[in-house]
């Protein structure tokens, strides 16, 4: 049988073939091929992003008998995922060489994870969703434990695996309940049944809740966040940087498309859950971060908080809200990757350090890097005119429009608490005198990422329409198409 409409999955096929070719190159070239495979992976991911844009259909198109959909929304997410994954590999090249973990499997696993994420966001059936999610998760479990001789890294990988498997199980169980009570796993079929239905059956609601639990785990929303700080701290830093970016975007995009698409008819039901998740994430993310001394743990709690803010947009249950989620996640990824590029440059006599106090006096020893970190921190705190402010503006605007004033007030008050620990980093860098300086110069790759991300964050206010317009178009094809 010839499958129709295969061209809409061109980017996925390209990435899949690329992953296999890269694996072959690695196997035949042997241990020394890490750098070559890394560079080729970066090129493949960027090329795949170009293919995605090029092959993006004007209207929603489905392939693989309705299991797979391609539209403006999936294009937006895929471009973000692919570019974030590419940057993730760039961040790791120098680090892996220094720390003697130059395994060619590493970039290949990231490419496979990216493929899983692409399938995830393009899924239009609970089964294809699950397949994508598992491909992504399994790759990530291995990557987290890539440093086999480190207890912390192995612990991180194991924790992530056990909890992740539990979450996947819940999601699968939820999917089976949904199937049992509706008779279909296809998104279109579910949407047709649920819109205008008088009272949804309890079984279906339980199924929905379990699916949401599984996805909430992937975005690390409170109370399903327990793994995040440990995995962030234990995994090698470039892996943490990668975890904080692309998978978060993919999982959040998936959460939006699942809730807005097939379960759009149950918006009253799920928005309550999302509100609770959002408040819990914002509050816990900000308050728990105050006590952290390790900058990677701090970033973990900070990412939990940011997910809370993004969920505020989702909680509004409107197209404006979904668009705000996309804008928020895109800006969040840029800030996070930039901040991790700074964290990766934190070395003292060639060894990585990761305490906040290690940044002491950075503004004197490395003014440019300190200035970039300053931009990221103030932006994450949501201070205008930096990009993070507009991200918050959009999600809270959606919440206020939906009448969720209390959510907006809670969110903005927690953002003040959050500002405390972000400006504490600024304080360490700018107000304190340097004692034991960090190594002066980050690699050219890290410096470039810091600078590009910093400028994007700083100058976002000049061209906000570029991102906002793209997100609007993307969401239109989700809700209107």
């Amino acid at each position: 049988m010839i499958l129709p409409n295969l061209e809409y999955a061109a980017a996925e096929m390209f990435v899949a073939v690329a992953a296999m070719v890269l694996l072959m190159i690695g196997v035949f070239r042997g241990e020394g091929s890490f750098r070559l495979v890394s560079v080729l992976s970066i090129l493949a991911l960027v090329a795949a992003a170009a293919v995605t844009v090029w092959m993006s259909p004007v209207e929603s198109r489905s392939a693989f008998a309705g299991m797979f959909v391609s539209n403006g929304y999936t294009t937006f997410l895929k471009v973000g995922i692919l570019l974030a994954s590419a940057v993730g590999i760039v961040l790791s090249v120098g680090y892996n060489a220094r720390e003697a973990i130059e395994r060619f499997e590493y970039p290949v696993l990231i490419v496979l994870a990216a493929l899983g994420m692409m399938v995830m966001v393009s899924a239009s059936d609970l089964l294809s969703l699950y397949i994508g999610l598992e491909l992504q998760s399994l790759s990530l479990y291995v990557v987290a434990a890539i440093r086999r001789d480190s207890v912390k890294s192995s612990e991180a990988g194991l924790k992530y695996f056990v909890l992740g498997a539990l979450a996947s199980g819940m999601l699968l169980f939820g999917a089976s309940l949904v199937y049992g009570f509706s008779g279909t796993t296809a998104f279109a079929g579910l949407a047709a049944q649920l819109t205008g239905a008088s009272a949804p059956s309890v079984g279906l609601i339980v199924g929905l809740v379990l699916v949401m639990v599984g996805l909430a785990f992937k975005v690390s929303a409170v109370p399903f966040h327990m793994w995040t700080p440990d995995v962030y701290e234990g995994a090698p830093t470039p892996v943490t940087a990668f975890f904080a970016a692309a998978p978060k975007l993919a999982a959040m995009g998936l959460l939006v498309s699942v809730l807005a698409g097939p379960f759009g008819g149950l918006v009253k039901q799920w928005s309550q859950i999302v509100i609770v998740l959002a408040i819990a994430s914002m509050v816990l993310g900000t308050f728990a971060a105050i006590a952290q001394t390790n900058i990677k743990r701090l970033m973990a709690y900070s990412s939990i908080g940011h997910i809370g803010y993004a969920l505020v947009g989702l909680a509004s249950g409107t197209g404006e809200g979904y668009s705000a989620v996309l804008v928020y996640m895109a800006i969040y990824i840029v800030m996070t990757l930039g901040a991790f590029a700074v964290i990766l440059a934190m070395q003292r006599s060639g060894r990585m350090v990761e305490e906040i106090d290690d940044l002491t006096g950075l503004s004197r020893t490395n003014p440019l890097m300190a200035a970039m970190m300053l931009i990221f921190m103030f932006s994450m705190a949501g201070i205008p005119p930096l990009a993070g402010f507009y991200a918050k503006l959009y999600v809270f605007l959606a919440a206020v429009e939906a009448g969720l004033y209390f959510l907006a007030v809670i969110g903005l008050v927690t953002s003040v608490v959050g500002a405390y620990y972000y400006i504490r980093i600024v304080k360490v860098m700018y107000f304190d005198e340097p004692e034991d300086a960090l190594d002066p110069r980050p690699g050219r790759d890290l410096g470039a990422i810091q600078f590009v991300a910093g400028m994007a964050t700083l100058l976002f206010f000049l061209f906000p329409s570029l991102l906002v317009g793209a997100a609007d178009t993307a969401v239109f094809s989700l809700t209107g198409g």
């Binding site: 197209g319 404006e320 809200g321 668009s323 705000a324 503004s363 003014p367 103030f378 201070i383 205008p384 005119p385 402010f389 507009y390 503006l393 959009y394 809270f396 605007l397 959606a398 206020v400 429009e401 004033y405 907006a408 007030v409 903005l412 008050v413 953002s415 003040v416 500002a419 405390y420 400006i423 600024v426 304080k427 700018y430 107000f431 206010f461 906000p464 329409s465 906002v468 317009g469 997100a471 609007d472 969401v475």
Partner: protein, 530 residues
């Protein structure tokens, strides 16, 4: 001239200067510092000249916004495109001038800063951009961006170049003001959606003013919106009891930081009340007038007493600022008290009071800035701000003693100085609407005289006995250049205030008319009067 975007130029000229300093200034340490200083001075002077040009071309006698610029900026999801919208009326014109005047003086008084000169000068110019932008913005989101952006450079200025407890003060300043502002942000969003009932929602200040005059927010919504804006402006102004960040920030900030803080940043609160609270939420302003009056009178009397007890010069002046700002809020809300008292004479009173509040803000902007500069002069020489370390300075520094006296008397409100006009107009206006408030506020004037004159006596007069004061040198030319324009202004504003009053006269009248139109929509006193 018509086609030049003068307001954008005056707003962003300092930013260009800051970028030039960061990018261009290179070389060895000494050359870097020297070039950074001069470049910053020229940039700020150029900005000042442009703002003078705007003032010259400013048309008095109309309440319309002038030099308006409007460019589509970005859209909210759902299609509303908000604009980068700039313009000045009489109220904001004066504050723009105040900001551009004080910045070059601050740069001059920071000439001797030793560490990280380049960064300091750049931070100061960025600060100027945000300050001027705050007063020029005619869109709520644009306003918020500038208003909040001020925190960034100010946090660094206090934290990097401040005194011993600078970290604590910088954090307190940042978090206090941020907490106030985020509530305002919620209100801004709510206003966008609430104004939707009249067609397209808007964040444009001109449109919102028209909306408030013609339709108005519902009284219930007004109360919440008013409180949210109040949270922001009361912290900024600051009003008792949310003033506690101010003494800390003032004391620890470097001299230039204190000058800008007292001279301009505090005025943003008063400007906000005049621009937003009064005309956009008239009912709520009436409803909450007793609260504002109580807090203002407590501020005037309590902080004056606190000022009496201070051992630290900067702290004393900081507390006096809180007391003076109490007069400002009394004046701004005088018209609302009239409503809440339930009587409504034919002509709306409060014009003198609001005019007085405006004038008091300008006067305080210059006088308190100058007083901090005076403290800076002796601090540069002796590196202490403790009052009891000084005494008898008149013997060594006669010129300094004279300058300090002018500003002390202006702060006290002596006729012939700018301080008199503001305080007198406020008390005059307040007396008409509430005798008790005026009487209590007048005691604040007496207390003000007490602490300022006592401060002056302890520092300037008496025997010159302390050995380390023997070597004190009088004002040198750079310091004379800083003080000369301020002395002239204080006397000019005190003797012939017309040119300044003319600028905002029409705008204040218009403000009160639209306040009355809004407040009369639901207020029973109006119906009774008809």
């Amino acid at each position: 001239m018509e086609t030049w975007p003068l307001l954008s130029i005056v707003t962003f000229a300092p930013l260009v200067g800051a970028l030039l300093i960061l990018v261009m200034v290179r070389g060895d340490r000494e050359a870097t510092d020297r070039n950074a200083r001069w470049l910053a001075l020229w940039a700020s002077l150029a900005t000042f000249l442009i703002s003078l040009l705007i003032w010259i071309n400013f048309e008095t006698g109309t309440a319309d916004f002038q030099f308006v610029e409007k460019v589509a900026w970005f859209s909210f999801p759902g299609g509303y495109t908000l604009s980068y919208h700039m313009g000045v009326d009489g109220i904001s014109m004066m504050f723009v001038l105040l900001s551009t005047l004080l910045t070059p003086l601050c740069i001059l008084c920071s000439w001797e800063i030793k560490s990280r000169v380049r960064e300091f000068m750049a931070a100061f110019l960025v600060l100027e951009t945000f300050m001027v932008g705050t007063f020029c913005a005619l869109d709520l989101v644009t306003f918020y961006v500038f208003f909040e952006g001020v925190l960034l450079p100010m946090f660094l200025i206090i934290g990097v170049w401040g005194g011993d407890r600078r970290v604590y003060s910088a954090f307190k300043f940042f978090l206090y003001t941020l907490l106030g502002s985020v509530l305002m942000l919620v209100a801004v969003m709510a206003m966008y959606f609430l104004s939707k009932s009249a067609g397209q929602g808007t964040t444009d200040i001109v449109e919102l003013l028209r909306f408030a005059r013609e339709t108005g927010f519902s009284p219930e919504a007004q109360k919440w919106l008013w409180l949210a804006f109040f949270a922001s402006f009361a912290v900024k102004l600051p009003m008792w009891p949310v003033h506690t960040w101010l003494p800390d920030a003032h004391v620890e900030a470097p001299t230039a930081g204190s000058v800008i803080l007292a001279g301009v940043l505090l005025k943003m609160g008063g400007y906000g009340f005049l621009r937003f609270s009064l005309p956009m939420f008239p009912d709520a302003s009436v409803y909450f007038a007793p609260l504002v009056y109580t807090l203002s009178i407590v501020a005037i009397i309590y902080t004056s007493l606190v000022a009496l007890a201070q051992e630290d010069m900067k702290k004393l002046i900081a507390y006096s600022s809180v007391a003076h700002m109490g007069f400002v809020t009394l004046g701004i809300f005088a018209a609302t008290v009239q409503f809440s008292a339930g009587s409504l004479p034919d002509n709306l009173l409060g014009e003198q009071a609001v005019t007085g509040a405006m004038f008091q803000m300008l006067s305080h902007g210059i006088v308190s800035a100058a007083l901090f500069l005076c403290v800076g002069v002796v601090y540069d020489r002796l590196h202490t701000r403790r009052i009891d370390r000084y005494g008898g300075l008149v013997h060594r520094m006669p010129r300094y003693a004279a300058v300090f006296m002018v500003f002390t008397l202006a702060s006290v409100g002596l006729p012939g100085t700018s301080g008199f006009i503001g305080e007198f107009l406020v008390l005059f206006g307040v007396f008409q609407v509430n005798v008790w408030a005026a009487a209590l506020a007048a005691t604040g004037v007496i207390l003000g005289a007490a602490y300022m004159l006592w401060l002056y006596r302890r520092i300037i007069f008496g025997e010159l006995v302390k050995p380390d004061l023997m070597r004190m040198k009088d004002l040198h030319p750079r310091e004379v250049a800083i003080f000369a324009p301020l002395v002239i202004l204080v006397l000019w504003m005190g003797i012939w205030p017309e040119p300044f009053l003319d600028v905002f006269d029409a705008s204040v009248k218009n403000l009160l008319t639209s306040f009355k139109a809004g407040a009369c929509r639901v207020n029973e006193a109006c119906f009774a009067a008809r």
